[in-house]
Symmetry: C3
Subunit: 229 residues, 3 copies
């Protein structure tokens, strides 16, 4: 980011809370009733919609096997990032230039979203996930922790992923799905932990992905089976 730091947004709504040590680039627009938490770094031309929280620290209860890290770097919103209304973005993540995050979404800590990618309304992204460039994650998707989504992937609405083969039965290692470059996933698809969806593969709507999908193939059904080529 080529930042021209200032100590306030170019335009600020009413009832806005800006905590300490927040850095603003040029031409930042902040909506009404927004909360910007301590230390957040906001690039040039960023727009933050009404009622959004940026830079939240993670928390936990005593049942959770995995505690969030005690120290996290600030949330960084790159140049020309747009955030919708009513969203919650955590500290420790970085959104690249031109990223669009729609309303009522949430992105946890240690996530990167690269240039020009779109995170739809009501999408929830867990921690430690990598999302590439020009990716579309459509409305209502759930992106689990420890997941890798490469460049130019398209994920249709309401897709669900998971990363815990043992479903909470202990502190085993977790692995989210890997979606390779250019793959396209139909709406309401279910992905099991650790599956790889190959380059330019196509997954039909409503499929349940229980094993790897080879590059360039098309799969459908529950469990998903290959129908092309």
């Amino acid at each position: 980011m080529h930042m021209n730091e200032t100590n306030k947004p170019a335009s600020t709504g009413l009832n806005v809370v800006i905590e300490e040590n927040v850095t603003f680039g040029k031409n930042v627009t902040v909506g009404h009733n927004v909360v910007i938490k301590e230390g957040t770094i906001i690039g040039d031309n960023v727009t933050i919609g009404d009622m959004t929280v940026v830079g939240k620290r993670p928390s936990s209860n005593r049942k959770m096997a995995r505690k969030p890290p005690a120290a996290l770097p600030p949330l960084v919103l790159g140049t020309s990032v747009t955030i919708g209304c009513g969203s919650v973005l955590y500290r420790g993540s970085t959104l690249g230039e031109g990223v669009f995050v729609a309303d009522l979404s949430s992105i946890r800590e240690n996530v990167t979203v690269d240039t020009d990618s779109i995170i739809g309304r009501n999408v929830i992204v867990e921690n430690n996930t990598r999302i590439g460039k020009r990716v579309t994650v459509q409305t209502g998707c759930y992106v689990t922790a420890d997941m890798i989504i490469e460049d130019e992937v398209f994920i249709g609405p309401c897709c669900s992923s998971s990363n815990d083969k043992y479903m909470g039965a202990g502190n085993f290692s977790h692995t989210g799905p890997i979606i390779k470059k250019g793959a396209k996933i139909g709406n309401n698809t279910t992905m099991l932990p650790a599956v790889t969806i190959g380059e330019n593969a196509i997954v039909g709507a409503g499929a349940v992905i229980v094993k790897d999908v080879p590059a360039g193939t098309t799969v459908v059904g529950n469990p998903a089976r290959q129908i092309r080529p």
Copy 2:
């Protein structure tokens, strides 16, 4: 709407933002921390819950093939509309008399929701969609763009629809599903683009609708197959 315009709500919470040229009918109740954007038209006896944004303008990033329209008519909330908490309603849409929109929902631009219909919690409705009278869209549904839902349709929780056969692969025309009068859709159903679900058809929970469902029939499964009559 038979409006008796006034320039403020009958009851207003704290930390409320009312932008310019908002019109209020009689007996309007506005909760705490609500944002009402410029030009919104609010009918008699409307209730707006805490933390809700009404009249948002759409935005986009440079990756999006479809840019939102530059000019949009105001959002119109008809007589006795009730909006929950934490919702986001866009400019350019119209909610008819008695419509109920629950918490944490969002309705985009150029949508009409007709008399007495119910939009559940966490439901997301995309742009250019028509929802008829006495429709129920239950909690967590995703209603895609360019979709038609006729009168007295019942859509169970968590149903997902889509409108883009090519999954982002260019600027082709999009067509959402058409759900005809009186059809009933079970929970977590997946609808592919451009399918028609006939009058009074019944779709079993978890079905994946890949082709048209004839009127009066019952379908289940992935892909959905007819089991009745």
Copy 3:
């Protein structure tokens, strides 16, 4: 709850609305732009995130067959409860000691969530549901009304349940699923009304549960069929 009542939180953010007769225990932390409705009872060491509404009264429109009860006891948040940002909790429910409710979630009236259970982000819980101790309801789940979830159940992300066999066709009795102790449900599972999932049963991701699942068995598919033992 061993409460040491005070008349304000130990720490309060900006733009907070506290209505009448709210009771606070010791060491309560309230974020920015929070709304705490009339009569809410908040235990010791509770944390409430930014932009959250606690103690909302239910509402309805004239189409709804079931009207919410006119009178409801207060919402009770037990000792050490943690609530995320942007959530909406209703009056008439009780969260036990150590319960964790993540961001953008909603819990309706007459729900109990027992000790140390976790309600993930974007989870929606309907009214009259009982959730036991040490339960995990992961991100994006929909928990229908009149449902029973026993102790130590694990429900993966994006699971959907329903309670109305007749899909809105009248005022029949509703019964949600019963999930018995220790059962584990994979992500994006669909549960039909009134099914029982037995103790320690395992439901594979993407399954559609149309009938009871015996204790200790594993089921997968649409419709779900037993694959183990």
